[in-house]
Structures are given as C-alpha cells and as structure tokens.
Symmetry: none
Subunit: 228 residues, 4 copies
Amino acid sequence: MLKKLTDEQQEKLLVTAVEEFGSKGPERAAVSEIARRSGISVGVIYKYYRNKEALFDACLARSTDMLKAMIGEAVDREDTLAEACEKLIRTCISFARRNPHYIQMYHAITHEPGEKAAYYAETIEKYTAMIYTGIIRKAQEEGAVRRDIDPAYLALFFDNLLMMLHFDAGCRYYNERRKFYLGEAEDDEKMTEQLVLFIKGAFGITDSVSSGSGPVAEGTGSAQEREV
Amino acid sequence: MLKKLTDEQQEKLLVTAVEEFGSKGPERAAVSEIARRSGISVGVIYKYYRNKEALFDACLARSTDMLKAMIGEAVDREDTLAEACEKLIRTCISFARRNPHYIQMYHAITHEPGEKAAYYAETIEKYTAMIYTGIIRKAQEEGAVRRDIDPAYLALFFDNLLMMLHFDAGCRYYNERRKFYLGEAEDDEKMTEQLVLFIKGAFGITDSVSSGSGPVAEGTGSAQEREV
Amino acid sequence: MLKKLTDEQQEKLLVTAVEEFGSKGPERAAVSEIARRSGISVGVIYKYYRNKEALFDACLARSTDMLKAMIGEAVDREDTLAEACEKLIRTCISFARRNPHYIQMYHAITHEPGEKAAYYAETIEKYTAMIYTGIIRKAQEEGAVRRDIDPAYLALFFDNLLMMLHFDAGCRYYNERRKFYLGEAEDDEKMTEQLVLFIKGAFGITDSVSSGSGPVAEGTGSAQEREV
Amino acid sequence: MLKKLTDEQQEKLLVTAVEEFGSKGPERAAVSEIARRSGISVGVIYKYYRNKEALFDACLARSTDMLKAMIGEAVDREDTLAEACEKLIRTCISFARRNPHYIQMYHAITHEPGEKAAYYAETIEKYTAMIYTGIIRKAQEEGAVRRDIDPAYLALFFDNLLMMLHFDAGCRYYNERRKFYLGEAEDDEKMTEQLVLFIKGAFGITDSVSSGSGPVAEGTGSAQEREV
DNA sequence: AATGAATGAGGTTTCATTCAT
DNA sequence: TATGAATGAAACCTCATTCAT
C-alpha cells in the first residue's frame, strides 16, 4: 500500500501550516495553499485533521509545546530569580528569533474574539502562570524579592514583558513598533541587559541574598546593588 | 470625499464598524452587517471607502486617535513621572473598560503580517514612543529616574506594560489569560496600585521628592554613577 | 437599486430546479448547474433559499401543490365514484404528460431513506389519503361500493394505482417497464379505459346505485353490470 | 474476473454493498464504507468492479435475481389465479420484510433517469411481465378471469400493486405514507386479505370453481361476452 | 445619488478512484 | 497481489464588490 505520510512529510505539513496560520491568521490561511506549499494533497490533510480548525489546533499545540519546552529548559530550580530572569529573557529572544512562526501562532490566538479564547489561553498561560508565580513566591519567601507586590501580579507583569519580548522578535508589527522606540538596529544583547535591569528593579532583586529586614526596605535598599 | 452623509451618519458608521471589526475580527466582520446595523447602505459605504480594508483603516485611524487623545490628556508636563505613571495606568484601564472595541482594533493591527505593519505602527507608536521617551529622559535628567537604563528602552518597556494593560481589559484572550494569574475577580484598583509599585521599582522611582537621606536619594544619587 | 428577481425569473429558477432535482435526484443535482441553466447566479439562489435542501423543499412544495390542485380539481363531490375514478385517472395521466418533472420530484422524495421521509410523505400523502378515503367511505355508505374491504385499504390500493400511473407517465424507468407489459405504443386512452374497468371491478362499483342488500352480494352481483 | 476473493468474501461484499446502497441510497453510500464493513480493501473492490456504478449494478443484479427467484418459487402452474395471487402477495410481503435492502435497491433503479433505465427495467420487469401476463392470459382462456381487460394491462396493474406492496414494506417513504392511510399499526395479514379481495374483484375472480349458478358462474359467464 | 440585490471568485470539505509499496 | 493512503475534481456556500434602477 501507499506509504503513510513520512514523519518528514507530516513535519513539513505542520511547519507549513504553522507558517501559514502564523503569518496570515487562522481566517486568511487557506488549506489549499498549505497543501500546495507542503507538497501534499488537500485530501490527506483532511485524513489527518478533521477540519481546518483541527489543523490549526494541532499547529497551536505544537507551538505551545515548543514554548513550554523552551521555558521549562530555561527554568532551573537552583537558579536565583535574577539568574532565572536573565536566562528566560535570553531564551525567549533566541527562541523567537529562531522560531518566529511559533510566536506568530501564539499571537494569532491572542486575537481570538470568541469562545475559543479561554481554551487557547489554557494551552499555554496556565503553564506559565504556574511556573512564574511559583518561582516568584519562593523568591519572596526567601527574601530575594520585594513582598509588597502580590506574587501573582509580579508573575503577570513579568510574563507581560516576556510576551512582548516574543512579539517584538517574532511579529512584524511589534518589530516595526520597536523601531520607533529604539531605532533600526536590533541589538538583542542590549535588549537582554536592559530588560534584566528593568525587571530586577521592578522585583526589587538583590543579587546577593541579603538576610533580614522587611520587604519594602529591601526593595528600595537593593537599588544600590542594581549597579551593572 | 462625498458629503451627502451627515457627520452623525459617518459617526454612526464608524462606531458600528469599530464594534464589528473589534468584536469579530477584521475577517469575520461583514460589510453588509455593518451597513445593516449602521442604517447606511452598502453602496454608500463603498462610495466613502474604496473597499473593506479602507473602512478598516478608517476605523483604525479613529481608534488610534482616541488612544492618542486619551494619552495626551493623561500626560501633564507638570507631573512627576510617578504621578504620570499612575495617571496613565488609571486612564488606560478606564479607557479600555469603556472602549473595548478600540482596544480590539488596536490589537487587530498588531496582527498585521505584511507591509502595512509599518504604516499601522506609525499611526500610534511613533506618538507614544515620543511622548514616553521624552518624559522619561527628562525625569532621568532631573535625577528622578535611574540612569543605567537607556530612556528609549525604559519607554519601550513601560509602553509594553501599558499595551498589555489595554489588552487585558479589552481583549478576550488576555482577559482569559489574566484569570490564570489572578483568578476570576477583576480588581482594577488593585491592578493599578500593584502596577504602579512595579513600575516605580523598575524606574527606580521613590515617592518622596524630598531631598536628603533615605532610599530615594540614594537610589537617584547612585543613578548618576550608573550613567550609560 | 437592482430589481429583485422578477416573478418570471423566480419561476424560471424553480422550474429549472424542479427539472434538475427531478431528473437527477436531490444528490446529483448541482446548485451551480441550476444557476447556470436558469440564468441567475449562485449567490442569488442562496439569497432566496437558505441552502440546497431548502431549494429542494421549495421545489417539492411546488410539485405537491400542483398535484394537490390537480387532484382537487378532478374531485367533485357530486360525481359518482365511478365518475370520480375516471376523471382522476384521466387527469393524472394528462398531468403527468404535461408535467413530468413534478412527477419526478414526487418520485425523488419516495427515494428518501432518512428521517425526512415522514415530512416528505406528509406534504402530499396526508392530503390524498384524506380525500380518497372520504370519497370511498361515502360511496360505501351509499351502497355504491363493496363493503367487505376497509375504506382505508381501498383508498391505499387506489392511490397505489394512481401513483404508478403517474410514474408510468413521468419517470423513465417506469416508462421502460411499461413497454415490457404493453409494448412500445403509448395509448393513454386505452390505459384510462382499462384501468377504469380494473378499478371498478376492484371496488365492486355498479354505475347505477342499486338499493339494498349486503356488501358481498352486491360486490359479486354487480359484476354483471360492469359490462362495457 | 479475478478469483482470489473466496465466494464467501464476494458474498459478504455484495451483501454489505446492498445494505449500504439500499439504506443510504446510491449517492450517499460510500465505497470506502462498504470496504470497511465488508472487510475487503477498496483496491480489491476496484479489481472486481470497474467503478462504483459497476458495483451498484452487481448489487442490482443480485437483488433482481433474488426477486425473480422469490417470484418463481411463488408461482406454480397448477395454482388457480386466485391461489397464485394470494401466494404472491404473501411472498412479496414476507420477502420485503426479510430483505428490505433488496427492495430498496429495486426502488433505487426506478429512480434512474438516464439511458440505463431500459437496461435496469429489463433485468426484472421483462421477467415479471412475461410471468404475470402468461398466467393471466391462461386464466382468461380458462374463463377464470374477466376478458374485457387486455391481459397485458391486467398484468401491469397487478404488478403495480405488487411493486407498491414491496415498497410499502421495504422503503421508508412508502412506510410513512402507509401510515396516513392505515394508521401506525402494521398488520401484514390484514393487508394480504384485503389486497386479495381487491385484486379478485378487479380480476373478476370468484373463489368457488364450481360450475352452476351463483354470482361466480355469472361473473365468469358474463366475462365471455365482454370479450375485447 | 443612493440603494441593496445580484454577482461570482474563492474557500472548505468529500469521496471515487488511483497507485506506490 | 492486495492494501488503503493519497489524490484532486467537484460540490456547497459566503461575502466583498458591483451596478441597474
């Protein structure tokens, strides 16, 4: 019998679909175009995926799996929060540079106005919320981070900055927007460094884990140690 | 442009179109539905706007004008940066709550993958970049804000947080996402307060503008040494 | 504005659709072909009819309305059953000759294997069942028709013969089939005459309304009066 | 024809195909589903049958063979026509109850609008026409049946009633239709009895074959004078 | 000029048929 | 040879855009 789609072909299909969905959005992406570009027939797509939406969901799952894997690898329970932040920032930028289409998929779901928004959000945000909130709470308990901000909010703001970092690197609009702030040049190293400073300030992080006193004092006192 | 449509009718058309584009997305919004709901015939819409995209662009211009006006009103050259931050945050949340469709329009353009991205970005980001960078640079010069971060980056990160604030309040996906971090309840006041704390920390701002000792003075004093 | 489809065009559409559905069946008939042949666009069909099925149902309603009208006109409460039979037979044949596509529509619904069968049947059979059963029951009460057969069964058998008469005249297969029984020639007059004889015999009809005795006796006794 | 499929497998294939074609109609029946349900691969089906239509034709041949066998068994040259009628009616109902799919196949061919109609009709109607006309002509010659109706017409009307009997028992639409005449209950015995009475009346048959007086003798005696 | 019905290209999806293994 | 996955034509249906009135 005819060999099933090789893993390579299935890979090609998903990669192509991610590119189409990511770059055009779920509505404008055409199944027939995905078929044409991936070199397989329309029919076979519908053998593997019930309909266009199922194909999109598979692309999404793939994208969010990659994102989660990326984040999972970047996070090491042994790291200080400062280390974790810097690693995450570096990893996010690097991932987005190498995989802009996954970032575009991620952005595509944020555009969902309907009922699927909750389902989409769950595929990735539940995970990041848990991870980041956990790390931050622990750091607060250890006194490494200011305590006058709810860890949930800290995690949200932190993820907000990481999402934007992703979009800056992976989405056309954000890339154009960045230029109005930073000019034409793309200096990922400087971006990393500056964002680390920004976030450490926001978190009230001291690189050395000072013992001791109340959160506010630490939070502000630690500003001196933010020196680069 | 033809002048048979009264200003009121044009207003109605744009408001309706913004609602449709915002709530359904640019693809799912139907010109005929906009015509029906606005009480203006399809033919007239096409007299005023070359095609659906031109109508969308007009909606976008309107949305970004509203955003710019909102920001312009919130910014007062006499304010301290801390005051400006808090005012902007409050205004953003309030605006997004009252005008979710404008925020959705704003989000829609961030999804633009093609050449129009630069044009879209220019309609709003150029303005915010200029405003925020100006304020921050001035604050740095006055010693009110840390100087070890480039004002352009500070402005970008600040705007990142404000954009996400908008989307949280106006877009379905971000709203669902927020729940994974903060739970079901929506407490705009707490959000404001927490984000103000976060940003102040990031900016190295202290509330007291008093001279003399204490963390603020130290914080700003050291900022000068951090000079880039 | 563009004039709505004229009555003439709507008529053309339905006539064409009846032809397509009747000759090809609901599955093989193509909306695009109906559009092409009726000289109107696909889009306008979907303006007038929600989907293909709704168009089919409209064709069916038209066909069954015609059939019902035809039957209604043929039935006259003043007629004897014998007169009614002959009139109905003549009318059926004549109708089927002039409107084969309506007969084909009628036949098409008899082919429905699914849940719609009951709905389809109701559109026409409920009416004929009521009419025929009523007429026959009345004739039985008057002693003009044998009473040893339930009027409902008499009506069913009678309608069976009329349906087949329709199909003989309107459907290709039945027409071919008829040739195996009757040869190539089509003699509607003879068909009428022979079927009238057949049915009168089956009904035990006496043209003169004899008074009196039991149904069985009448039924067989009347055979003498069946003379042509 | 290839011979790798065992007879049993071929049987299974045809039985399954008849079920699919019969229950879903020729259009809605899917070759892949027939393959799946019969446990025979699609490829093999296409080795044995040029295309879907050829498979359908094979199913049809099988169905009409079954019908012919059924009729052949029911007909006994020694029977009186009255006996033959009753036997045929009983057999038809019983066959249709046990083999609805064959009846549905039979009905399916009546829907054929094209050139194949003649071919289809030949596969079954030629046979029944010959059988019924023969029996009836013989009965007329023997004086057992009225002679004022052409035996060919008598045979056609008789077969019309039998076809409808088949469809009543085997096809959804006709089953629904029957309810409008006879109500929900299905009483095959009463149907048989009533139809026998109806047909005997139509044929001018009397049960007693005794010579002498009484309605029967009159009935047949007069038949001779009705000579066409 | 304004209307909104008509147009028809283009999208999704199915399934008869083919053919590489 | 038998398999059943792959193919791709063709069907339904939508909606941006046009244009007769």
